[in-house]
Each structure stands twice: as C-alpha cells, then as structure tokens.
C-alpha cells in the first residue's frame, strides 16, 4: 500500500513514515476495497456472477486502482456475454497499470481475432435490434433476432432473459422455462432470472389453481353472511342436516368398501394362507407317515429275521433236547442202579426210574451208546424178575378191580421183564377183550397160544379166541 500524498510504502502505523500524513482512514478504505474484492471472488467461484459484479463494483468504488478487482469484473462481464463492458474494464485496468497486467492478455485475445470481434459486434447489434422490435410490438421478429444472438453468443444473459420474457408474454411457459434454466446455468443467483422462473413455475401448475377455484366458490355458496352491528356473521346453510346425512352416507359407503375389501382382498388372502398352512401340515404328516411306514417295514424285517433266528434256535434246542433226553435216560438208569446198589429191595423206586427210562426209550434209542445198552441189559438181568413180579402184582390187582386201562401197561411191563410169565400175557389179552379191543386181544391170545403151547392158559386163550371169532 502506497501513501496517497508522497507515494512512500506505508507501514503498520496509522501515519506515513515518509511524509507524516494520517493514513488511518485511507487504510480502512483500502481494506474495504480488498474485502469486497474477496467477496466478489467467492461469489464468482460459485457462479453467482450477479453478486460478484455488485461486490467487485463496490470494491472499485472504494479503490479504483484495485487491479485484481477490475480484471475480475471484466472477466465476469465477459462470462455473462457483456463483451464491451468487459473490454472497458480491461482497458481501464491496462491504463492504470500498463505493465505486468493480465488484462493485456485478455484484450489481445479479443482484438487479435478480428472475425470474433466482428461476430461480437454483430451480436450486440442484433440484440439491440431485437429490443427495438420489442418496443415496436414486433415480438415475433424479436424472438427470431434473439435466437440468432444466442446462436453466436450462448452465454449472453440479457438475451436469454429478454427471450424468456417474450415467451412469457405469449404464454409459452415451457420455452420460457428452458431459457431461464440456461440463464441459471451461467449465473446461478440472478434476481431477474429467479423472478421470471418463479412466475413460469407457478403458471406451469394449473392443477392447483383449478383445485383452488371451485373450493372457494362452494365455500362462498354454502354460507350466509350478514352484518350484526360491527360484526360480520358467517353461518353455514343447513350445515348440521347435511353433515348428519353425509356422515351416515359416508359411514355406509365406508362399510361397503370395507366389506368389499374383506371379500375381494383380505378373504382370498386368508383362504390362500390357510390352504398353504394345510398343505404344509399335510406335507409334514405325509413325511411323518413315510418315516413311520419305513420304520414299520424295518421292524417287520427285524421280526422276520428274529422269527427265523428263533426257529433256527428252536431247531438247535430240539437237537440239544435230544441229547438232553439221552442224558436224562442215562441219569434214570444211573439212579436205578444206584438205588439197587443202596437198597436192592426197593423195587418200587427202581421201577419208577426204569419207567422214566422206558418212556424215553422208544423216542431216543438212536442216541444211546453201546455202554448204556450193555449196562441196561446187565441191570435187567439182575432185577428183571423182581421188576416183572412187581408189575404183574400191580397189573393183576388192577385187573381184579376191573381197572383194565391201568392194568394193561403194568401187565405189558410184567411180560417184558419176565417173558416166562404166561399169566401176565393172558390177563393182558383179557384186559384188551374186556375193553372191547378185540384185535389187540386176538393178537395177545395168539402169542399165548404160540409161546405157551399145551398149557392151561393156552387152552383158555384158544377158547376166548374162538369166542371172539364167533362174535365176528
């Protein structure tokens, strides 16, 4: 900063160190100029060109020698399409600072391109001509001229705004809006542009206006206005009755709509949902049934295998039982021998053991060993006569008591253990005859006749045999 009085560079003091002039106020003016320049620069950065022009012009009013502010103002004018204004600022800037001034480059850029300078000049002339057409009410010609202007200089804000104004006047709202939006792209905060745009957007929403108009009309029709003293009374016409009827009507319509919604929207959805649930449950039950069927099949297979196993084991057990039977027979014989050795007179006990041996004898003869058979034969040699006598006495006693069923086995045993006992065989035949088993009786009598010929029992047997034959 230089002293306005002597040209000396100023220090931080409020007076000039060269001439002593008070520079406090001068410094404040310079600071204000710089502050407006900064503000203009900020606005130009965000494309608020109108705001930047205002700030930069303020800056130059405080300090006309603020070269940066002047150059920037020229640049902003140029961006807005105001080429002559831009050139003016740059020329002044160059005159104020002839050297090291970027305005020199700007001027050269325009003046060195003669065709461009001519185009700019033609553009300005056409704009002015369009303005003349507007004043003459030749708006069509004005629109044509302005379109030509904008084809040469698309950033000419004033031409865009004038064209938008003409479109607004002929109610071409969409076209007007298009031009104004182009303006906003160049200069975002131009007051004129925003005002026109607000008007155009308002006119482009006829629905709201149409909605508002009948409402006002109906509201004014449905009231009675009258003056009571200083007060204006506004009374609705038949408000209560209409509201009551309309309420009922609305309620009925609401109920009908509700039922319709339930029938056509909610109910099918619920049915579909229920069917889906049932299908899911059916699927689950089906899956469970399949699992159970598989389990049952598996169990049946197990049962079958167990049954087979059981059968196999039963067969095996039966084979073992055969062996067991042989063992039991051996036990019976051993016990009989043991009893005989202990008490040879206890024929009854010995007979009991031998009966058990006899019972199994027919069934398991094949399983018996040679040693067992030899022991049995030797034992019968010793006790056979006694056993025969024992069984004969028991059998004869039963025979005399007419108990032939009990007598027959004892008499058979008696004859088996003692084959010389003709009485035992004869009474056996009688027992069968008395029981009515004549075939068996004839067989026994034949044995008596064959085994004991020429004896009294043989004669008696022949007699009875003849009787039986005669009966037949």
């Amino acid at each position: 900063m230089i002293c306005y009085n002597c040209g000396c560079r100023l220090s931080e003091h409020d007076f000039c160190t060269g001439c002593g002039v008070d520079v406090s106020l001068y410094k404040k003016i310079m600071y204000m100029s710089n502050r407006f320049y900064n503000d203009g620069l900020d606005k130009a950065t965000v494309r608020d060109l109108s705001g930047a022009v205002i700030s930069l012009r303020q800056s130059l009013k405080f300090n006309k020698n603020n070269i940066d502010a002047r150059n920037l103002l020229g640049l902003v004018y140029f961006e807005m399409g105001e080429v002559v204004a831009a050139l003016s600022e740059w020329v002044i800037s160059k005159n104020l600072r002839p050297k090291k001034n970027i305005a020199d480059d700007y001027i050269d850029m325009i003046q060195n391109n003669q065709s461009r300078l001519d185009a700019i000049n033609q553009t300005i002339k056409k704009y002015n001509q369009a303005l003349v057409y507007c004043y003459q009410d030749s708006q069509d010609l004005a629109v044509i001229q302005l379109k030509k202007v904008l084809s040469y200089n698309p950033k000419y804000i004033r031409a865009h705004q004038l064209l938008a104004l003409l479109y607004i006047n002929i109610e071409e709202w969409e076209k007007a809006k298009k031009e104004l939006l182009k303006c906003c792209q160049i200069d975002t905060n131009n007051t004129t542009t925003l005002r026109y745009l607000k008007e155009v957007e308002h006119m482009l929403m006829p629905e709201d206006a149409a909605k508002n108009a009948p409402k006002k009309k109906t509201s004014s029709d449905e009231v009675i206005r009258y003056q009571s003293g200083n007060e204006t009374i506004i009374q609705p016409v038949n408000g209560k009755d209409k509201s009551g009827v309309s309420s009922l009507l609305n309620l009925g319509i609401g109920v009908v709509i509700g039922v319709a919604i339930a029938c056509f929207l909610i109910l099918p959805a619920r049915i579909q949902s229920a069917q889906a649930d049932i299908n899911d449950e059916l699927r689950i039950v089906s899956e469970q049934s399949d699992v159970k069927t598989a389990t049952i099949d598996e169990q049946q297979q197990k049962i079958q295998s167990l049954t087979d196993e059981n059968q196999r084991l039963s067969d095996e057990l039966a084979s073992f039982e055969g062996t067991d039977g042989a063992l039991k027979a051996t036990d019976g014989l051993m016990m009989a021998v043991s009893t005989y050795l202990t008490n040879p007179e206890d024929i009854e006990t010995i007979a009991g053991y031998m009966e058990s041996l006899e019972t199994q004898e027919g069934e398991e003869e094949e399983t018996r060993t040679a040693s067992f058979t030899a022991l049995q034969e030797n034992f019968l040699t010793l006790t056979g006569e006694q056993l025969g006598t024992y069984y004969y006495n028991a059998g004869y006693e039963s025979y005399n008591a007419d108990n032939y069923e009990e007598a027959i086995p004892n008499l058979e045993r008696a004859y088996r253990y003692n084959e010389t006992n003709a009485d035992a065989l004869f009474y056996l035949g009688n027992s069968y005859r008395r029981l009515g088993d004549n075939d068996k009786a004839k067989e026994i009598y034949a044995q008596v006749i064959d085994n004991f010929p020429d004896t009294r029992r043989a004669n008696e047997a022949e007699t009875y045999l003849a009787e039986i034959n005669n009966e037949n």
Binding site: Y4, I29, M30, M32, V84, L117, I120, N128, N169
Partner: protein, 50 residues
C-alpha cells in the same frame, strides 16, 4: 404476475464496440480514496487561510 411493459423498460441497449472508447472516457472513476484526498486537501487549505 409479470408486467411485460414494465419489465421491458428494465432492458437497455448494449454498448457496441465502437462506443466502448467513449464509454471508457465518460466513466466516472472517482473513488472513496479520491474523495478522502480532496477532503484532506480542502482541510489543509482552510487551515492555511486561517
């Protein structure tokens, strides 16, 4: 509602290139600093006269 006639009055003819020189010469470049200097000078003159 925009009044076309009134709005049209706000639009002025642009300066043509030929008119630029004249416009520059006619531009009032007086700033606050010039006014301050004049005020200081007048004040000094008054003091000297007194």
């Amino acid at each position: 509602m925009i009044d076309f006639e009134e709005e049209l009055k706000k639009f002025h003819p642009s300066l043509e290139v030929e008119d630029a020189v004249e416009a520059i010469y006619n531009q009032d470049l007086t700033d606050m600093a010039d006014i301050l200097i004049k005020m200081v000078e007048k004040t000094k003159e008054k003091e000297e006269q007194e």
